[in-house]
């Protein structure tokens, strides 16, 4: 009887194991000899952003009836975690968008296909992209992605707030001293409006660090350099404004959507943000705002200028079809649709009609976006020091910046105390 029971148990175990194991045999999309090829495309977006992606997919499928695109979409906040688990579970999408903050982490761990052979085979012209964007997607001389949404992070100026307080808008080549002065003017204006607020991320401190001649990493990206006097001075500028009451107290623990709410309801006059924030702000009726450069100093180019990346998965079973879609997505056809929907600002260098398409004859706000974006691209833009482990570095710096802002320690003390930890993160990720 015991033997019967054991045999029965083993049989059931094997059957169950076979049933559960069957799920892992589905890698990425399947290539079929009959019917269209399915290419899975992962991206992030809010409901507005998803609309234009579907339009692009529809347009592509019209001209490529043998390829079907299956979108995989999620909100930005958890997108990369979802992407990571999909790749780990052998369910990697064929084409995936990756934020530049995370690109090095995914690429160095073998998630992204080297595109050199595809570029060469199809004579794809990489010169349509800005040089800075190509550099971000290139590792050891090989291209691993096509740039997407190459654009600055802007300073948003709340024109309603400036007018109400009787403060003039700054010039494009404004300095950190101008920024500090404006923040204090808002504090003393009696309009109940704070000068500035933004989420506590390294990208929103870097302009002040760069303005003083400092940087996050050394030129070879191997040494943590935020402990330099120049960098600490930049960080302390924001901390001093916070302690002086020019920045709302809740800034240390706030999220991006709250910043947008504060900006549109007149609680803050200035914020840093991206194109997605432009779209969110435009939706609020009565919003009068401009996008601007970030304040500069002894270094003029202090406005963060970055891309996101469209990658081909190394595990894809349909690389050729996926590459066809990538070329459409990041070529002039896809760019036109994105720009027309105002999802991204024009970034391709070979089409002069993109800006008029983006602006669409609309004289709404922000009116200066074309001029400011052009000036940032040529004069005021500054790339990020993106390395493997950047996301860990970024997340680990946030609580330190919060401590500095709250006055628990000065920037110099905080950086000296934590330098070893951050250097360890860089060394561990780049050995």
């Amino acid at each position: 009887m015991k033997k019967v029971l054991c045999v029965l148990s083993m049989a059931l175990l094997f059957v169950s194991g076979g049933v559960f194991a069957n799920g892992t045999s589905e890698a990425t999309s399947e290539k079929t000899d009959q019917g269209p090829i399915t290419v899975k495309y992962a991206f992030w977006g809010n409901p507005d952003a998803i609309g234009v992606e579907n339009e692009i997919i529809d347009e592509f499928e019209k001209t490529h009836p043998n390829i079907q695109i299956e979108p995989i979409v999620s909100a930005y906040e958890d997108y990369h975690e979802k992407l990571m688990t999909m790749i780990a579970g052998n369910m990697a999408p064929d084409v995936m968008r990756i934020d530049s903050y995370n690109f090095a982490d995914f690429m160095t761990r073998g998630a992204c296909q080297n595109l050199d052979q595809y570029i060469e085979k199809t004579n794809f012209d990489m010169n349509i992209y800005p040089v800075a964007a190509i550099n971000e997607a290139t590792v050891d001389g090989s291209v691993y992605a096509l740039p997407w949404a190459t654009a600055p992070l802007y300073t948003f100026l709340n024109i309603n707030a400036f007018e109400k307080a009787g403060i003039d808008l700054p010039p494009l080549d404004w300095t950190v001293d101008d920024f500090v002065k404006i923040c204090h003017e808002f504090k003393e204006s009696g309009t109940d409006c704070y000068g500035y607020s933004s989420a506590v991320f390294i990208e929103f401190f870097l302009p002040f660090i760069w303005a003083n001649g400092g940087n996050l990493l050394s030129a070879d990206k191997k040494t943590f350099t935020l402990d330099s006097d120049e960098a600490c001075k930049g960080i302390q500028t924001i901390a001093d404004l916070y302690q002086d009451g020019c920045i709302p107290k809740d800034t240390v623990s706030i999220s991006e959507d709250t910043i947008t709410r504060w900006f549109t309801n007149g609680s803050i006059a200035m914020r840093f943000g991206s194109l997605v924030d432009v779209i969110s702000t435009q939706k609020v009726e009565g919003s009068k705002f401009e996008v601007w450069t970030m304040p500069s100093g002894i270094v003029k180019n202090t406005t963060v200028y970055k891309s996101n990346e469209i990658c081909l998965s190394k595990d894809s079973q349909v690389k050729d079809a996926a590459w066809e879609f990538m070329k459409f997505l990041r070529g002039n056809e896809g760019e036109r649709l994105y720009v027309k929907a105002k999802r991204i600002s024009p970034s391709l260098l070979n089409d002069d009609t993109l800006w008029p398409l983006y602006l669409g004859g609309n004289d709404g706000y922000p009116k200066q976006i074309k001029n400011v974006t052009g000036q940032i691209a040529t004069t005021y833009g500054h790339g990020l020091s993106l390395v493997k482990g950047y996301s860990e570095l970024r997340d680990s710096l946030t609580p330190i910046f919060q401590k500095i802002m709250m006055g628990d320690m000065t920037a110099k003390e905080a950086m000296a105390q934590n330098k070893a930890k951050f250097q360890n993160i860089i060394d561990r990720n780049n050995k």
Binding site: M1, S16, F20, R109, K249, V252, T258, W262, P399, M406
Partner: protein
């Protein structure tokens, strides 16, 4: 009788058919447990000795992860926060739940209505609770709580933007969410106390305080133990509330162990290190539960 005994002893040489049937019925559950619980636990234990970025090959690193944990200041901060949250929130939660249950056990008008509205927060997800409370606790003019406090002459409190106030705020929101759930647990316990004890106590001249401490409290001890263990285990795993309300800030003041595990495993490509942290959390919860069990057994009524 002896024939029956003879028949029974004959059958014990092999398994009874009903035992086989029971095993077969239990087998799906056992298989599910083995595949979805036991194996992941074993694999997580093994991962604790690996360096694995989730999307690349794992490499064996021995006890390096555990050595790093010992010197990781963020681990100790998140452990401290988790312990603080658990051992402050749970007793307060249970005391308030008990008092509410006693109140709502009395025959008052609208008792069912009050019970319902007390229980409602516990059916909401922690994420939605955090989303609701976040703007309420703002220290700017938009924050409703500070707005009401201003009528009382109290200046704005930085609930979520101060290392002093952030954890008490998270504890407060956590208590608000779970009060109704444990109130229901205690209500069930209270209604299980025979009324003759109270009647006898009244005859002996006991007042409300004496009845509470000498009758109610001892007789709902099993309920209290269950609620304490359940609440404590749940509190040690706090994640969604702090993640949405404060994102572990400001300055890691509300960063909990599970949050830190999530950050390492899913944001920073350090699944091996996260697995090592998870094992430590498991051991802590295991020790706490065993200790509680021992205390409960020693204090048997």
């Amino acid at each position: 009788m002896s024939q029956k005994t003879y028949q029974i002893s004959n059958r014990t040489k092999g398994l009874k058919p009903e035992y086989i049937a029971a095993m077969l019925f239990l087998l799906p559950n056992i298989i599910g447990f083995a595949i979805f619980t036991l194996w992941p636990m074993i694999y997580s234990l093994l991962l604790g000795f690996m360096d694995w970025g989730l999307i690349n090959q794992a490499s064996f690193v021995g006890v390096a992860n555990y050595q790093e944990i010992l010197h990781d200041s963020i681990f100790w901060i998140s452990l401290k926060n988790t312990v603080l949250y658990s051992f402050v929130k749970v007793p307060i939660n249970l005391i308030l739940s008990l008092l509410l249950a006693i109140l709502l056990n009395k025959k008052i008008h609208g008792r069912n209505f009050f019970r319902t509205i007390s229980f409602l927060p516990s059916v909401c997800s922690s994420v939605s609770v955090a989303i609701i409370w976040k703007p309420l606790l703002e220290s700017t003019k938009n924050g409703l709580v500070n707005h009401f406090l201003s009528y009382l002459g109290i200046s704005a409190i930085p609930f979520l933007s101060s290392t002093l106030w952030s954890m008490p705020s998270v504890i407060g929101v956590g208590i608000w969410k779970e009060l109704g759930f444990f109130m229901i647990i205690y209500l069930a316990g209270l209604q299980g106390i025979p009324s003759m004890y109270y009647e006898a106590a009244e005859i002996d001249g006991a007042n409300a305080k004496v009845k509470f401490f000498h009758i109610t409290l001892p007789l709902i001890a099993p309920t209290t133990f269950f609620a304490f263990v359940t609440s404590l285990i749940g509190s040690f795993q706090i994640f969604d509330l702090t993640s949405v309300l404060t994102d572990g800030g400001p300055a890691n003041s509300t960063n909990t162990l599970v949050m830190y595990i999530y950050q390492n495993g899913f944001k920073w490509f350090r699944m091996g290190y996260a697995s090592a942290l998870a094992l430590i959390l498991f051991i802590i919860i295991f020790i706490v539960t065993i200790t509680q069990n021992q205390i409960s057994n020693n204090n048997a009524y």
